[in-house]
Symmetry: C2
Subunit: 174 residues, 2 copies
């Protein structure tokens, strides 16, 4: 079995984290070395020196990609839940990461605003957050992702099923 | 089995990389998820934006420690070969990293100059490199490392034996 870089992109509250955890647990049960590289967590640690300017966001994404690359090269499957609103970032990830799989985690803005588990949309409406992707800042929809999962129409478990079937089909899972 | 952060410190050519590779291969055979976090490699990737000023060196070490921390927390054993000449850096690593094991890879400067597999000492003598640890910049010897391996007196395989015995003794290996 080959390691893969599984990149989950989507607006806040689309379901990236939920699916990432399910997928990690599934692959762990198959005895695959797997890790979630959470963009938010890396922001608070490795990228603690960076802010939110376009340049800093770009540098942050570059570092996430470099860490993921190091891990995949060492045969760890890496799951990367990252809003990654810009095609440019995802294209860079595709170019740099071996065995790259782009998963578009899709849900309408209305649904995400209703879910809002972290209260981000509410904070944005209150003016506490600016540039929230989906609401105030653009999200460029993936054009040719390997997988699209629609978390409005399908349960997290169904989305997991679709992703693991695709991984199997691509030869990353037995 | 618990994951550990195994930190190998020592002057250039002391044998850190050789021992790291042997140790990784040994732990892999025991089916432990293990990875080498090579300081030089991370310099060229994640820390590509940094130079060699004291501040930049410190920031680089901070990032290596953060990446190692993320991995150990996810139950990966991490082997970190890093000259890390300053006690301050190693103390920070000890404070931040769960299950921290400091291995002092020891060899005399004369021996390391004779070995010089990367030609670093020669380059320093030619004036091509400045501030080479051991020769031109200080190396603060570890005071209370968990393990000292003397690569002048012992073969790499013997050093590996000593380290794995210690890991067993500390409960990180069955």
């Amino acid at each position: 079995m080959q390691a893969a870089a599984i990149w989950l992109t989507g607006i806040p509250a689309s379901g990236k984290t939920t699916i990432s955890i399910l997928l990690r647990d599934y692959l762990q049960k198959k005895n695959m070395p797997v890790i979630i590289l959470d963009g938010d967590e890396i922001r608070k640690t490795v990228s603690k020196d960076l802010g939110f300017s376009p340049q800093d966001r770009k540098e942050h994404n570059r570092r996430v990609i470099e860490i993921a690359k190091l891990l995949v090269k060492n045969n760890f499957t890496v799951i990367i839940p990252l809003i990654s609103p810009y095609k440019e970032t995802r294209d860079l990830a595709r170019k740099e990461l071996p065995n790259f799989i782009e998963v578009y985690v899709k849900a309408s803005l209305d649904t995400c605003i209703k879910r809002d588990p972290k209260g981000l949309y509410q904070k944005a409406k209150n003016g506490e957050i600016q540039n929230l992707t989906g609401l105030q800042a653009p999200y460029e929809e993936p054009i040719n992702p390997e997988i699209i999962v629609d978390t409005e129409k399908n349960s997290p478990e169904q989305c997991l099923g679709m992703i693991t079937l695709k991984l199997q089909h691509l030869g990353y899972l037995k």
